[in-house]
């Protein structure tokens, strides 16, 4: 039982890695940087799974996940001398509420107003949580990310 759970988690993490790195190839990131986007995407999804498993709601979990992955992205952007967008844009792909937007549109069209409103609210909440997570980490002071103090 436990082993199955671990295998399932591993599969999901691998999928998150593939998702982030493949999308960064599609969006024309230089090939050398793609694996770093993949790594931070995996870290984000790892934190997300842990949060969900510990019973956090699906709006709080993206917040922590985004903070973790933005932290990694900032470190990568200092190490690789790249703008943070190169990593951040694709590594939040697994967490971003894309499915929520689609459901909102779908139920809007299907005339099921209650579900549509609920989905729209959830989508906005997740988007705000992610944006806050990114904003907080981006406004932290630089020395936390440059790795130069640890010698």
């Amino acid at each position: 039982m436990n082993l199955l759970l671990i295998i399932h988690l591993m599969l999901q993490l691998f999928a998150a890695f593939l998702c982030s790195s493949m999308f960064s190839i599609i969006l024309h990131t230089p090939l050398k940087q793609c694996k770093f986007a993949g790594i931070s995407g995996t870290a984000g999804w790892f934190v997300y799974s842990i949060c969900i498993n510990h019973g956090l709601s699906n709006t709080v979990a993206p917040f922590f996940a985004t903070m973790a992955l933005t932290w990694l992205c900032r470190i990568f952007s200092f190490v690789r001398k790249e703008p943070i967008t190169s990593f951040l844009l694709t590594s939040i792909f697994p967490i971003v509420p894309g499915a929520g937007i689609y459901y909102t549109g779908y139920y809007f069209f299907m005339g099921q107003d209650n579900i549509c409103a609920a989905k729209a609210l959830e989508t906005i909440k997740i988007a705000i949580a992610i944006a806050l997570g990114i904003g907080i980490v981006l406004s932290l002071p630089k020395f936390l990310f440059t790795l130069k103090r640890v010698k």
Binding site: L11, A15, M22, F109
Partner: protein, 260 residues
């Protein structure tokens, strides 16, 4: 502005324009323009950047540049170009790049190639399949999804070549891809139609745009945030509608088996 093609305001303007057209954030474009202008000692430089336009005002060598406006209609994300422009602005800031050189570099950056079609197709297939697994689909669902993703990227390529307008592209390609997904599902590949459809259209869905719009709000770029948010919800509506129509038609023909 032909006579002043070597001015540094022109340079800053072009860099901002290139950044915005390739999908950078508002504040990055604004900061880059200000940094470039400051490192060439422009006496006065004011800029206001929106999601789809740039306004610039400045004084250089005693000549006043009234207003330069550029409307940027289509954004096509190209991270490689953003990264190259970032590198260029860093070199300008350190004084290692003259104005003429910088103009040549910008022209080169604008010519940076897109990923080869076949690579993009394969990547989109794999990415869609892995998204399906992330959302809890089985391996068989992922197999069906990867076929849909492969096909979707090809459709997007065709629409891009024929310069079809954005919303129409989203409407049509989402309905074609969901038809394909339903056919694969009916043929016995995969066991959760909902997961297959989400995985297939994840390439289209504007989740990142919505998040960026909230980030713009948090940066107090209210106008840019509003533009992006309306765009994201319209696109989402188009996708939902495209898929909804297909599912309604199929469930009318076959009885409500396919309703999610």
């Amino acid at each position: 502005m032909e006579g002043n093609s070597c001015s540094s305001i022109q340079l800053a303007f072009q860099m901002g324009e290139a950044l915005l057209a390739n999908g950078s954030e508002i504040f990055r474009a604004q900061e880059t323009m200000e940094i470039v202008a400051a490192s060439f000692n422009v006496e006065e430089f004011n800029t206001y950047v929106l999601t789809n336009g740039i306004f610039v005002n400045g004084v250089e060598n005693g000549i006043e540049y009234r207003t330069k406006i550029k409307h940027i209609k289509t954004v096509k994300i190209h991270i490689g170009r953003i990264s190259a422009l970032n590198q260029l602005s860093r070199e300008i800031c350190e004084g290692r790049c003259s104005i003429e050189e910088a103009f040549e570099r910008i022209e080169k950056i604008k010519e940076l190639p897109y990923v080869k079609l076949i690579t993009a197709l394969l990547c989109c297939g794999v990415a869609s399949a892995s998204t399906c697994i992330i959302f809890g689909g089985s391996l068989m669902d992922a197999a069906a999804t990867s076929i849909c993703g492969f096909f979707l990227e090809f459709l997007l390529y065709l629409f891009d070549k024929s310069k079809t307008s954005g919303y129409f592209t989203y409407l049509i390609s989402s309905s074609i891809v969901s038809t394909l997904g339903i056919l694969l599902f009916a043929a016995g590949l995969g066991n959760d139609l909902d997961k297959i459809i989400i995985g297939s259209i994840i390439r289209l869905v504007p989740g990142y745009a919505l998040t960026t719009s909230i980030r713009d709000f948090l940066n107090r770029d209210f106008l840019s945030g509003t533009i992006r948010m309306i765009d994201a919800f319209l696109l989402g509506g188009c996708i939902g509608m495209g898929i909804g129509v297909v599912i309604k038609i199929f469930s009318m023909i076959l009885g409500g088996v396919f309703l999610i």
